[in-house]
Amino acid sequence: MSERTKHRWAMAIDLDRCTGCQACVAACHAENNLPLSDPESAAKGRAVHWIRVDRYYEGEFPEVKVKHMPVLCQQCDEAPCEPVCPVYATYQNAEGLNVQVYNRCVGTRYCGNNCPYSVRFFNWFDPVWPEPLQLQHNPDVSIRMGGVMEKCTFCIQRIKRAENDAKDEKRDVADGEIQPACAQSCPAEAMVFGDLNDPESKVSRMAGSGRSTRLLEELGTKPKVFYLQRGA
């Protein structure tokens, strides 16, 4: 199916560039109206971060090397979260995006269990924002109610806007025209977003690089997030 559709959105993350600064995490929160959490609920595992920076430590103290890895929804072609949802709240759209329909979700949380990357988040309560933060919501992104799942959308609101603009101007979406909030805010420019169907796009070239790997690739989930790093 993905071959026949016009776009196949993907991301490449150069881990050799990532400094672990968490700018992507903050940007995602602002762009996607993520609920905030206090230290207490975060300690309980209730914090919502559609993108997180996992840290891996190599070596023994004091010779420790820290490796950072931003982990977001891997937008799998063979997504384990999709078939298990009884109400089609999550499915693969025509452009290969693993989308979440909040209104359909009844909150079985099966998708969250079956996601090996643990990038799905649940709204344990109706979200609240401390004053005056409720005034900074992004109008392009819906607020999720309590009891439903959510996760990274690859900033689908930005994708749709760019696609519509291009359609209005009767042209194709240019490479680099779409930037999810995380990629846009990355000071090290470690994250690149683009169309895998365009062999000349930057993301296609990075995905084809010898440094490219995918997370838990052995599970056959066919993720569309590519991690680049020097050979070990």
Partner: protein, 441 residues
């Protein structure tokens, strides 16, 4: 059954078995009130959860499922009591089943009603549970038939329908007899439930045929139901869940805990209703042997499941396995082995020790052990996912504990009310037996 070899005695039997229906003691009222109080507290906890959000439970990322689902599997497992005892024994025409069947079938229906509530209780938006029913919504959107949860809903609703019919069929001759001997509202209820039963030969043959047929159907449904429950887990790719053995392992575990529940129910009925003449050592002895057999089978499956995981030494599975046998879950794991294997093996395996009392003790242990087994299947796997960076620890809250406790009292409550409205022992099955015996002599 030498004690009941005369038709005259059958009348006495009827009088004794009807007695609890017609007289209510103060002790009964007290127990009902106590159970109802705990049940109401559980309902309050659920109401609080509905109003505030499912976050009042202890579940968290990555442990998205916890003791609500443990209770679900546990109670669906208990429901296998009725199926096995009643259907298998009816199909094989085992004579000793007769005083046991109705007690077992009632367990099935009530345990299913309780177990079936948990997939709803655990939903983030429980009020939309009907979106899982296998028919299209008003938006003409079908539910997703690829999801094991949908298989669950389909299987359990089929099983509940089937086992209700299966409980109801053998009840017909008894309620018809009761309708003839009672007055007032009871008479009206019994008459309505007796669906015009007159006791003609044709009706007896039809009933006999229907019961045999339902026994066959319900057996197949029961096996498939618990297999589907197991597939909720084994269809996923989580470490230690993705196991082909889970279907039969869960079915065996379900029957195991079902027999234990039945033994406990029988011991209580025997004591409180003074039915020592009907529920004899013989019945307990036979059921104890079945429990012992299932204990051995459970142990075999557990060894097969864990040994292969350990020998394979796959790191992601070993993280879960290690947490279970020597990590934070180890106390529960070894308690489970003791409860499910050591205790029944010693108490029921040594003939000298096998009495009604020890069978009851072993059964209580088995219920605890089987609850722990489901906990150990669900929680460690989710706590130790594939990416070590996302590991997390789960602890239940008062809401989850209250709701779980209330399920046990609800079960007892439903059972007590049922025993107050209907004879807990199928009287007509005795009477036919008496007739057979007397015609031979």
């Amino acid at each position: 059954m030498a004690a009941i070899s005369e038709p005259v005695v059958a009348n006495a039997a009827r009088a004794q078995l009807w007695r609890p229906l017609l007289h209510t003691s103060a002790r009964y009222r007290m127990v009902v009130a106590l159970l109802a109080a705990v049940t109401l507290w559980g309902l309050f906890a659920w109401g609080y959860q509905l109003k505030t959000g499912i976050g009042v439970a202890g579940i968290r990322r990555p442990v998205f499922w916890a003791i609500y689902l443990v209770n679900f599997v546990f109670w669906i497992g208990i429901s296998h009591a009725g199926t096995l005892i009643s259907a298998i024994l009816r199909l094989t025409d085992a004579g000793w089943r007769k005083p046991v069947t109705r007690a077992a079938e009632a367990i099935t229906v009530f345990a299913l009603m309780i177990g079936g509530m948990f997939p709803i209780i655990h939903l983030g938006r429980a009020w939309l549970f009907y979106w899982l029913f296998p028919y299209p919504t008003e938006r003409l959107l079908w539910p997703n038939f690829r999801s094991p949860l949908l298989w669950d809903v389909t299987a359990i609703s089929t099983y509940l329908t089937g086992s209700t019919i299966y409980l109801f069929l053998p009840l017909i001759p008894d309620v018809a007899a009761l309708a003839r001997h009672t007055t007032g509202w009871r008479r009206r209820v019994y008459r309505a439930l007796s669906v015009g039963w007159t006791g003609s030969d044709r009706e007896w043959h039809a009933l006999e045929f229907a019961m045999k047929l339902m026994a066959g159907i319900i057996l197949a449904v029961a096996v498939s139901v618990h297999t589907v429950v197991a597939w909720d887990f084994s269809m996923s790719i989580a470490p230690m869940w993705h196991s082909s053995i889970f279907g039969p392992y869960f079915v065996a575990g379900a029957i195991f805990s079902g027999i234990a529940a039945l033994l406990i129910a029988m011991a209580v009925i025997r004591r409180t209703l003074h039915l020592e003449a009907y529920l004899t050592e013989h019945h307990f002895n036979n059921l104890s042997k079945l429990l012992l057999l299932m204990s051995l089978l459970w142990f075999y499956f557990t060894v097969a499941e864990n040994l292969t995981a350990w020998y394979g030494n796959e790191p992601k599975e070993m993280a879960v396995f290690g947490a279970r046998v020597r990590g934070p879950f180890a106390p529960y794991f070894w308690a489970m082995v003791i409860c499910n294997f050591v205790v029944p093996f010693v108490l029921l395996g040594i003939r000298r020790l096998r009495t009604i009392r020890t069978a009851t003790i072993a059964s209580v242990c088995v219920l605890i052990g089987m609850w722990l087994e489901r906990y150990l299947i669900i929680v460690p796997t989710l706590s130790y996912g594939r990416l070590a960076a996302t590991w997390g620890k789960y602890a239940p809250t008062w809401v989850e504990i209250s709701i779980s406790a209330a399920t046990f009292t609800t079960m007892a409550l439903l059972y007590l009310i049922f025993a107050k409205l209907f004879p807990i022992i199928a009287i007509w099955e005795f009477e036919t037996e008496v007739m057979e015996v007397s015609s031979v002599s």
